[in-house]
């Protein structure tokens, strides 16, 4: 036993005497985690959040959340002698005086951007594969909460340097708060300690950014992961993978090495990116004053869609009974985002209500096998994308020499036209892919070999599927869902059905969701198809015999068509053949 092992065993024993931890270790070190590249997306989110935390702690050592005006005396020449707030001056000091400060600041910003991006793509994966279905609905809701918190963390963070850009963002946020009916002005005054920009606000925002939101995120991430651990990860359909097993690699050593190593990969890439690519150069923007602004102002990417919504909204405002309702702010900045996040959180419950499906789902759907869900997902992405374009309409106009008014009008119209179109197209594509899958299950795949039969007919030879692919295609069966039947208006005794309206709505939605599908083939159909494939193979057999006679085996693959594990050189091939002999 090496010294490390002795120390390790001692520690394990110490813990076990007090916590009984060996029981847990013995059971869990062999816990199996399924493997798929898309399962890394959530990991990227987790790891970039860890980088945010580590770098954030460093930044708090130097940053001063104060709006007291000071004269800048640092080493950045263009701003020497300029009046600015302590918040901005300390951010400049982090960038120019503290060694490695700029690196950490840029790592903090880059990892925050990657954090939100990874959450978004992780959300797509979970949505499109139906991983949110029973029993994981609660974890989906937590995930939506984490997304909202991540947006809040990002916004509160990039507002802290108090440069011209971030101050403008805060001014917009204040304008939105002020537009809220009845309580708007009071809410804005309480939050900002009076008028904008005020003095106490920065320390409040700082508290939100380094305590409130990170605390909530850490808490929710912990629950999120514990639930993944306890419920076990979902898996994609495949050979040997059922709804009641997990196929993958054990925690120790493979998963630990892969996931642990991936943390360092993410950390390393963010660090190199921050060394090489400048981000948020606050010194260029200058200190914030409420009466100045730069043209082409852009928020961080994840706020772009909200800014876009503000930009494309028509200028509706209602004044009645001496009170003002600013629809032009309320709709894009409060109502629409509120509805979107609520609908998102409730989606798993809506879908299970519509399907009437109470089963547990541990096998993921292939997106094509849930055409309506996939359509809704793509539709939402298109909607988001259009708003996002709206957030950059000024840059689009100047870059492509277009009229900004034309872009805005284009978006106002396409926001209603394109998402439904995207839904229809996606659904059609899904059904077409289903049809293709069904064909493959029936006849195997097209080999590309054309055969002329003795009587002159040309056929394309089909090749049977391998088990791996067959298993994936058969997963359609698991995603199949029968639409609910329409309820009866009255029961057998002629008594009126009280829940008729709700039930019929449910049935109609269910029809909308599940009626259009390409039914998976029956066993008889598959058998017939396989007979067909066998027949074609029979027709082709003489050709193969002829070819084999003329074929001289070349032991060296030349590296071009080399497969993993096949011999690389003639010598190896020779060694191989000797061994098998």
């Amino acid at each position: 036993m090496s010294i490390t092992e002795k120390v390790g065993a001692g520690t394990a024993d110490f813990a076990d005497q007090r916590l009984g931890s060996n029981k847990w270790l013995g059971k869990n070190l062999k816990k199996v985690f399924p493997d798929h590249w898309s399962f890394m997306l959530g990991e990227i989110a987790l790891y970039s959040f860890m980088v945010v935390l580590i770098t954030g702690v460093f930044l708090t050592l130097f940053y001063k959340p104060s709006l007291v005006e000071v004269v800048y005396e640092g080493s950045y020449v263009p701003l020497k002698g300029v009046m600015m707030t302590e918040a901005y001056a300390s951010t400049l000091d982090i960038s120019f005086e503290v060694r490695g400060g700029l690196l950490i600041r840029q790592m903090h910003h880059w990892s925050a951007l990657i954090f939100v991006a990874a959450i978004s793509v992780h959300l797509f994966r979970v949505f499109f594969t139906g991983a949110f279905r029973k029993p994981r609905e609660l974890n989906w809701v937590i995930g939506v909460g984490l997304l909202v918190l991540a947006l809040g963390a990002g916004f509160s963070g990039y507002s802290l340097p108090d440069d011209l850009l971030s101050g403008t963002g805060l001014q917009i946020a204040r304008g939105i708060a002020q537009s809220i009916p009845i309580i708007g002005t009071w809410a804005a005054f309480l939050l900002f300690d009076g008028e904008f920009p005020g003095v106490d606000f920065m320390s409040r925002l700082y508290m939100v950014h380094i305590l409130l939101i990170p605390g909530l995120i850490i808490g929710l991430v912990t629950v999120h992961l514990m639930m993944v651990w306890y419920q076990k990860h979902t898996q994609f359909p495949g050979q040997g993978r059922t709804n009641s097993n997990v196929v993958g690699y054990p925690l120790l050593p493979v998963y630990m090495a892969k996931a642990g190593g991936f943390f360092f990969i993410v950390f390393g890439i963010i660090t190199m990116l921050s060394g090489l690519v400048n981000i948020n150069p606050v010194w260029i923007f200058g200190p914030y004053t409420p009466d100045q602004v730069t043209a082409g102002t852009q928020p961080d990417w994840y706020i772009g869609w909200l800014d876009g919504a503000l930009r494309v909204m028509p200028n509706w405002e209602t004044v009645a009974f001496g009170f003002t309702l600013s629809w032009n702010i309320l709709i894009p900045a409060v109502i629409v985002p509120g509805l979107i996040f609520t609908a998102m959180a409730l989606y798993p419950f809506l879908e299970s209500w519509v399907s009437g499906d109470k089963r547990e789902h541990h096998l993921l759907d292939r997106p094509r096998n849930a055409p309506v869900r996939t359509g809704i997902g793509v539709m939402s992405i298109v909607f988001y994308g259009l708003l996002w374009i709206g957030g950059g309409n000024d840059l689009m106009a100047t870059t492509f020499n277009l009229s900004i008014n034309a872009i805005t009008w284009f978006l106002r119209i396409t926001l209603f036209l394109l998402p439904p179109l995207a839904f229809i197209i996606t659904k059609r594509i899904c059904l077409a892919l289903q049809r293709k899958d069904r064909d493959k299950l029936l006849h195997g795949y097209e080999s590309g070999r054309i055969l002329r039969l003795p009587h002159g007919e040309f056929i394309e030879v089909h090749q049977p599927l391998n088990n791996k692919e067959k298993a994936i295609l058969m997963a359609k069966l698991d995603s199949e869902q029968e639409p609910l039947a329409l309820p009866a208006k009255t029961d057998a005794n002629g008594v009126k059905n009280k829940g008729y309206r709700v039930e019929s709505l449910r049935a109609r939605l269910s029809h909308f969701y599940f009626a259009d599908t390409i039914a998976p083939p029956t066993r008889e159909e598959i058998e017939a198809g396989q007979a067909h494939v066998a027949h074609e193979a029979e027709l082709e057999a003489p050709l193969h015999e002829y070819e084999e006679e003329a074929y001289v085996q070349v032991p060296f693959h030349g590296g071009v068509l080399h497969r993993e594990g096949a011999p690389m050189t003639n010598a190896e091939a020779l060694e191989d053949s000797r061994r098998t002999d």
Binding site: G175, Q239, M272, S274, T289, L363, L477, E482
Partner: protein
């Protein structure tokens, strides 16, 4: 035992369970038809497995070992280089790098050495896992999540016991008063929020938020000074087609007294001069001075300061959300999300010939709010 590892070679449909429906199978016609079992029915054992080169040839395995060791060694080297960069390079040194342009040399060195050092640890660990650790998948069973009926019954029994022992159901008034007390207990916490802002500015004594938002520092006769140099302006200082950002002359005193920039955020204005013939409408009769018009600088949409002015069309464009105002037509909105025209400040000149405000704005500047009307 359900959590036992099953090596893949043992995986058969019997052992792994066929197309499992864990709980409550639906009334699903299409599913109930026993056409064929689900994907799991094809045993995992039949998966083609190609052994890796490192499995077959000890030489290849040793090469991988060397690669990984080299990565870890390089990682250590990077940590050393990081310290060298930290100590030896001055924080202000700039170098030119093609594509990237002028960059801070120390930042570059620290980022690349630290980043590469961390990256190599990860790359080594993953290479280790992929090439030298087992690449055969294993099977584990899932536990059914719901409790068994016996466990359900036990939980219900315990609940019942607690209910009876506490008498929660029996003591009706006590129960209701407890609920009432619990409902009221957060109220003090909410009340405490009230003092997040108090109106302690003597100049604004007794004013509500809506009233504070409705007035600015401008008064009749107050000189208009340029933003930045704080020089009073004569009409001749502004050429036709020109735009000047301006503030009230006492802005510096106000800021010094209040220790904040609040007033600047409200009373900032722009002065534009156009041919008096071009002015089609104003918000008040004679509010211009010889074609010089003063408008609030704060957008009526969500409050961005505006200064993008096109002097030929007299259009003013907000850089934040592209609301466009026609300054020759009383500052009316001609495009974009803003609903209100830019408030106009009536101006004139004093006896010394400097531009002055004729009065305060006749409406609140900046974004709309509920009490604005």
């Amino acid at each position: 035992m359900s959590s036992d590892l099953t090596p893949r070679s043992d995986g058969s449909p019997e052992a792994t369970g066929a197309h499992g429906v864990v709980s409550g199978s639906g009334v699903n016609d299409r599913l109930a038809r026993p056409d064929y079992a689900g994907p799991g029915a094809l045993p995992l054992a039949a998966v083609d497995h190609t052994p890796r080169r490192s499995d077959l040839y000890p030489k290849a395995a040793r090469r991988v070992e060397r690669q990984i060791t080299l990565m870890f060694l390089l990682s250590m080297l990077m940590a050393v280089l990081f310290i060298v960069g930290y100590v030896a390079i001055d924080v202000g040194t700039e170098i030119y790098i093609p594509v990237l342009g002028g960059v801070g040399f120390q930042n570059l060195v620290l980022g690349v050495t630290f980043g590469l050092g961390v990256f190599l640890i990860g790359a080594g660990a993953i290479q280790w896992a992929k090439k030298l650790m087992p690449d055969v998948e294993v099977v584990q069973d899932r536990h059914p999540l719901p409790s068994t009926p016996t466990e359900d019954a036990k939980a219900a029994e315990q609940y019942q016991r607690g209910k009876e022992e506490s008498g929660f159901a029996a003591y009706r008034i006590m129960r209701r008063t407890l609920i009432g007390a619990l409902a009221l207990f957060p109220i003090p916490l909410v009340v405490l929020v009230r003092d997040m802002w108090t109106n302690d500015d003597p100049a604004l004594a007794g004013q509500s938020p809506a009233e504070i938002l409705s007035s600015t520092a401008w008064t009749g006769g107050l000189r208009i000074v340029t933003d930045g140099t704080f020089q009073p302006l004569r009409p001749a200082d502004i050429p036709v087609g020109g735009l000047v950002s301006a503030l009230p002359e006492n802005i510096e005193e106000i800021q010094k007294e209040a220790h904040n920039l609040n007033e600047r955020g409200k009373s900032a204005i722009i002065l534009v001069r156009m041919d008096p013939e071009d002015i089609r409408a104003q918000q008040g009769e004679g509010w211009d001075y010889q074609g010089i018009l003063a408008y609030s600088k704060i957008c009526t949409h969500v409050g961005c300061p505006i200064a993008l002015y096109e002097h030929r069309t007299h259009h003013l464009l907000c850089p934040c959300h592209q609301s466009t105002f026609d300054l020759a037509d009383a500052g009316n909105v001609i495009f974009g999300p803003a609903a209100r025209s830019m408030p106009q400040l009536p101006i004139g000149v004093d006896e010394e010939g400097f531009l002055v405000a004729a009065s305060d704005f006749n409406q609140p500047v900046g974004p709309s709010f509920w009490e604005r009307g």
